[in-house]
Assembly symmetry: C2
Homo-oligomer: 103 residues x 2
């Protein structure tokens, strides 16, 4: 019985560049990443743009970002905290995030 609380995150070394690019190639996902660039957010806080996005859809967007190694999704009480894996990504793909998020 997999407890659903802790979601799997890829090791940054296993993340392929093309997967990262794919995850960022969707405007809604890119926007989420931009928001997270300023610091962690809960699911509810995140996605201030797209306010009426169904939660299953938002959850799926997050799944793609998580599986691509872009965001960490960790439980915190009954909410979840989303964090951009900036340092790790900078290590793995120097300059990529900065060029995409703009200086």
């Amino acid at each position: 019985m997999t407890t659903v609380t802790n979601l799997p995150h890829p090791d940054i070394g296993d993340v392929q560049l093309t997967e990262v690019l794919f995850a960022l190639s969707d405007p809604a996902r890119l926007e989420i990443v931009r928001e997270l660039a300023d610091g962690p957010l809960t699911m509810a806080e995140c996605g201030s743009t797209n306010p009426d996005l169904p939660k299953s859809t938002k959850s799926h967007l997050m799944k793609v970002l998580r599986e691509a190694g872009l965001v960490r999704n960790e439980p915190d009480g009954r909410r979840r905290v989303l964090t951009l894996r900036k340092d790790e990504l900078d290590q793995a793909f120097p300059g990529l995030l900065d060029s995409i998020l703009g200086d």
Copy 2:
């Protein structure tokens, strides 16, 4: 009667970041872009990896790259020359290509 010889290329200003990222999110397309980073190539020269890729498939990969504003595809006799639109892309998305192609 649209002559097929000259293919349409988007103005770099009209190119969306997400479209560029999508075009690069496919390993075969990314590889093509890497090859073109060293200078223009004809269709036949390009894709030294993937040597037995059907030509219609290769043509389609090129179309995606062209429509995303990444490569220019121009006739030269009965062949076609493919050029990475590096300068324009650097202008529009500073640092992006360098970080993706590696220093």
